[in-house]
């Protein structure tokens, strides 16, 4: 028997597969992460002083410019990390720990605190701008 029907069968199966899968992909929405979510507290409402030994990271967002711009910051396991955010519009600081942490901040001055317990390198970025803030080196 000629192998021709098989070629046809394979081609049809492959086409059906490509068709069905590509058709599905039209309706897909952006991927979402399993994550902890929190809101930064506007600075005016912050009452407690930071714990001694906390690492304070001053983040400034002006338009699409972010400082710091992605450099390495050393912190210790369990050390409190405080983001002091000064922004001209609301946005999201995304901490790529596992699981990830999303910090939603308002326009103006605000701050949020996290504690990282697992050693490793953790990227922090302004999610809505796709701009890096820092790589936290948790030792």
């Amino acid at each position: 028997m000629t192998p021709r029907p098989r070629a046809l069968g394979a081609a049809l199966a492959a086409l059906a597969l490509v068709g069905s899968l590509s058709a599905c992909s039209d309706s897909s929405k952006p991927g979402t992460l399993a994550q902890h979510e929190m809101n930064a507290t506007p600075s005016a409402q912050v009452t407690s002083a930071p714990a001694s030994g906390a690492k304070v990271i001053d983040v400034t967002v002006t338009g699409t410019t972010v400082t710091p711009d992605g450099g390495r910051i050393q912190i210790k396991v369990g050390q409190q990390v405080i983001f002091k955010i000064q922004a001209d519009a609301k946005g999201e600081v995304h901490v790529h720990s596992s699981p990830a942490t999303a910090i939603f901040y308002p326009a103006g001055a605000s701050q949020a605190s996290i504690t990282l317990t697992q050693p490793g390198i953790i990227e922090v970025e302004i999610e809505n701008l796709g701009k890096p803030v820092a790589q936290l080196e948790v030792q």
Binding site: R4, G9, A14, S98, P99
Partner: protein, 456 residues
Amino acid sequence: MGLAPGLIGPLAPMHGLGGARDLPIPAPLAIAGGTAALVVSFGILVLAWRAPRYNRPDPGRPLPTRVARVLDSAWYRGLLRTLGMVFTVYLAWALIAGPDLVTNPIFGTFYVILWVGIVPSSLFFGRFFRAVSPVRTLNLLFAKATGADPAKGLFTYPERLGYWPAALGLLAFVWQELVNPHSAYIGPVRVWLALYFGITLIGSAIFGETWLSRADPFEVYSDLVAKLSPWARRSDGVLVIRSPLSNLASVKPRPGIVAVVAVLFGSTAFDSYKDSVRWARIANSIGGNLQVVNTVALIIFCATIGVTFALASMTTATEKAPSETGSGASLRRLLPQAFAHSVVPIIVGYMTAHYLSYFVEQGQTTILELSDPLVRGNNYLGTANWSVNYFLSFHPTLLASVKVLAVVTGHVVGVTAAHDRALTLLPKKHQITGQLGMLVIMVCYTATGLYLLFGS
């Protein structure tokens, strides 16, 4: 990550999956590893055997008849095929009906269990992917349905294409994993897998099973790593156990094999490099579309490995008189293929270092997620309530030591394999000097690998 907002939509994390990355390995460990690699290399060159050991055809001890009969039996092979097929259908369900969430198990299965898992599964069990490959099974079923021979297609596969289709397939995978900013979104994964199944199925109908052995990126990758396992099949079909080094020497030199190892090695090195602060700054200063910049960088990394390796291996036979047979030039052109197998252990060592914690930790996460293919709180496999053990991440010194050990072991095995091959190819009087080029490039690869693990 210096992308203009709105250019390609919101950014997924660059690695697609997993959050924290490994800490850099400590400098003393990196230096110790590099020195060990250097010393052992020259030790092998000067002190190791002078007559080739692994050039005998068909070495190895046959497996006990009873074991071989089980492993070769139709029901055992059928069982593996059925398991592979059931798992594929289960995942197709998650792929087609599941939501576009990173917790959809298709992502962890595609990028971690399949891609990274090829290395340990093939290292321990031999040609693992081929045994469970859903495309191979479908080809068998189509052939059975039409009464044709699964091994044969409409045409004979042109041998001069060699592994080039697989090299392209591997490049397509690493591009999807490392460059595509939407790698952790379900749409691109659907398209990639649809193309994969389409190309492999149609190709196997046209060229028969040879297409799968040469063009299916996962099968070619798995077959190559399997050459470092003790499992092999003699040319008369008997299952044997051999030393990994003599198994490795049985890799068939074919066109495109250098491209395959170059893509595997170059892409992993690029993966280490692209997460560094330095690359983020460079990419930012180049400007333009990050996707394009990363694509170019990925290709440069792979091409650098391919070209440097080809050049180094061609220096091996420098003095082999071309006048004797008039075939000196053509022999030299074949040298990179003849040495390509010796990069496989270096790749495996570096992959182990690069992916160990990711595989163990993200792999566990995926096993949890597999119980809930549609991400709606099911627990079909009973694994949903397990918890992930982050032992490796919590012991960074142990992890770093294992990584350096893996790189150095891969280097030693690679240098030994290259040494043995050089002895079969080189004339007696150039046996030591002729190996220098190869040795130097391997030390460079290992040093670069350690530097990337240190500087990441």
